[in-house]
């Protein structure tokens, strides 16, 4: 699915959080959304996910303006994984993944064979089959995040949006999650804190600062030493490591930061 964002601005309580963003995400791409805290990443994601109505501007899925779509219509196109969405619940992993079938279910109908087959495949894809009957409360952070991704996949979405999915995960689970994302055929837009993960797993990056989009492009073109200094306030550079993966080498806080 192609996701197009045109002149998008979003304000809350008189403060403009996202300002005049233009972006295009191509079918099948994995795009990273990066930027310092408070740069508007979460708000932009929520506008793209149809959860917030933009103050001005347009979000298009495959060219169609989604303004006025009901939640169900959006949910059949795109899945959204919130930042550490938690529940105080005895729901089992399979129940949580089955939530992804909600947009396809009639009011009075229980799960059918298709629902079960899809949930089963999503569990397998996220490596959760063995945990299917475990309760939510008993899961580790990494398992919860994988369950959310499986739930998103069970929506059979054309696009997946994720808000900081690697937060609170240990390094192994961060890598596993990013590999899962990079391997999906769906269009993926994922906000990330970790610039090394973003550079390594994303086809392209969108860099946000103070609510505006300041750069887009391949990781090595976006994360220049100048932008790392001006936007993130660090003295760092992106370079291939011995194995050929892009990695961030950080020398410390920039001498004259943006503050």
């Amino acid at each position: 699915m192609r996701i197009t964002v045109e002149n998008l601005s979003w304000s809350a309580r008189g403060t403009t959080v996202v300002r005049d963003v233009h972006a295009e995400i191509l079918p099948g791409e994995t795009v990273g959304l990066i930027g310092p805290n408070g740069s508007g990443k979460s708000s932009l994601l929520r506008c793209v996910a149809g959860l917030r109505a933009p103050t001005t501007g347009t979000v298009r899925y495959d060219g169609e303006d989604i303004r006025g779509w009901d939640a169900r219509r959006v949910a059949r196109r795109i899945a959204f994984v919130e930042q550490s969405a938690d529940a105080d619940s005895d729901l089992r992993v399979a129940d949580v993944v089955a939530l992804g079938r909600t947009p396809f279910r009639g009011r009075w109908r229980g799960p059918d064979a298709t629902d079960r087959a899809v949930v089963d495949a999503a569990l397998r894809h996220a490596g959760l089959t063995a945990l299917a009957t475990r309760t939510w409360r008993s899961l580790s952070g990494g398992e919860r995040q994988r369950a959310h991704l499986a739930r998103a996949l069970a929506q059979q979405p054309w696009g997946i949006l994720l808000d900081e999915p690697t937060n609170h995960l240990d390094i192994k689970h961060q890598l596993a999650l990013m590999e899962l994302l990079a391997a999906t055929d769906q269009t993926v837009l994922v906000s990330l804190h970790d610039l090394s993960l973003a550079a390594r797993y994303c086809d392209r990056l969108l860099l946000m600062c103070d609510g505006t989009l300041v750069a887009t492009g391949a990781p090595e073109d976006v994360l220049t030493p100048g932008r790392l200094r001006d936007v993130f306030g660090i003295d760092a550079a992106l370079a291939p490591d011995p194995a050929g993966h892009l990695a961030l080498t950080c020398r410390g806080v920039a001498a004259a930061g943006p503050d």
Binding site: A75, L91, A94, P103
Partner: protein, 375 residues
């Protein structure tokens, strides 16, 4: 310079089903058995039959219990006579005892128990709070105030009626609760404390009205009724209760998928295709309606909405499609027995049934708080 990225396409065979292009699964799909059997949880069909049987037996048994003993045979004759069967008619006094006093009372207990328990389950999901319940959130107190305004002050006695007054009061208390909770998070202690404040406010208003306007007899009667008593059950009240409970159960059951979606908060629910605002508003109005009909007919009985859903979740799990009908069934059985206990525990004196539900509910309330590490 060669820049390699993560390998793409691994596990693509699995993606066949998960990709939207595979939405209509082709041909005769080898249906894998669901990965979750009802492992550890009882078979739902068996439990459903068991529950229905328990409800019917409880109703029959409870009709027999009271100051005058009634046998099953006499109960059968009373029912048979009404249905036009050729049975030996009962003496009029006994027939009236069964038909006009016992049966409506027991049926009303079942209906109110089902309604309050379902309200609890729904409110717990909507507020994402294990302690939410009409009584603890102050909704029952609001409904009581509304009912007392109609009964004692006579305001709206013609147009609203007691149920209408209770409904208005319930909506007002819900509104007040939502205004007070508008800002800040929805952590459980905060919701419950706010609910208690709202409840205390409305209880104070009720007390004020009673003291200012009610004579001693009215005050005693209403205080007894406010604690929850089925003593005034009549057939017309039973009919109203039946309609409300059935409609309420149908509406909430239709929202079962949405209620599951709320588990991870409003944004995740919306991203799953739930119309969050409309669903929330519908559910709050329906629970307010069910609560107010319950309060108008039997007074404010607390903790049913706390005790029953927690017990049922333990048996059938938290999925609302299954949880709600079983909660209704269990709530009905629960209140039928609580009311039977209230009738016979201190004969000839009758204890308000709300006293018994509170005696059971308060320890459970503390247990939940402690389990969540908030006490």
């Amino acid at each position: 310079m060669p820049v390699s990225r993560a390998p793409a396409g691994s596990g693509r065979d699995l993606l066949g089903v998960l990709h939207p292009s595979a939405r209509a699964l082709p041909g005769p799909q080898p249906v894998t058995p669901p990965p979750v059997a009802t492992g550890g949880r009882l078979s739902r069909t068996a439990l459903g039959l068991l529950g229905t049987a328990a409800l019917l037996l409880s109703v029959a048994a409870s009709v027999r219990i009271g100051s005058a003993d009634v046998g099953y045979g006499e109960l059968g004759r009373a029912l048979g006579g009404r249905l036009g069967l050729a049975v030996e008619p009962l003496p009029p006094l006994l027939d009236s005892l069964i038909w006009d006093l016992r049966l409506p009372r027991v049926l009303l207990a079942a209906l109110v128990g089902a309604a309050l328990a379902v309200c609890g389950a729904v409110l717990q999901a909507v507020t994402r709070n294990a302690l939410a319940e009409p009584y603890l959130l102050g909704v029952s107190s609001g409904a009581s105030t509304g009912a007392v305004v109609v009964v004692v002050l006579g305001i709206g006695a013609g147009s609203l009626g007691v149920t209408g007054g209770a409904f208005t009061g319930a909506l007002l208390s819900f509104g007040l609760l939502l205004i007070l909770l508008r800002r800040g998070g929805l952590d459980s202690l905060r919701i419950v404390l706010t609910g208690v404040i709202v409840g205390e406010f409305f209880a104070a208003v009720t007390a004020l009205i009673l003291m200012a306007s009610g004579d001693a007899d009215t005050t005693r009667a209403i205080t007894h009724w406010l604690l929850g008593s089925m003593a005034s059950a009549r057939w017309d009240v039973v009919v109203i209760g039946a309609v409300t409970t059935v409609v309420g159960l149908a509406v909430t059951w239709a929202c079962a998928g949405a209620l599951d979606g709320f588990a991870f908060g409003a944004d995740t629910a919306a991203s799953l295709g739930v119309g969050v605002r409309a669903t929330r508003a519908t559910l709050l109005v329906v629970t307010a309606l069910m609560t107010s009909v319950a309060v108008a007919s039997v007074g404010a009985i607390g903790f049913v909405g706390l005790i029953v859903p927690h017990g049922v979740r333990f048996l059938v799990g938290p999925t609302h499609r299954v949880l709600l009908p079983f909660t209704a069934l269990a709530g009905a059985v629960f209140l039928v027995w609580a009311d039977a206990l209230a009738r016979i525990a201190f004969t000839p004196r009758e204890v308000p049934v709300g006293v018994f539900t509170a005696l059971l509910g308060v320890p459970l309330f503390l247990l939940i708080l402690r389990k969540r590490g908030e006490l």
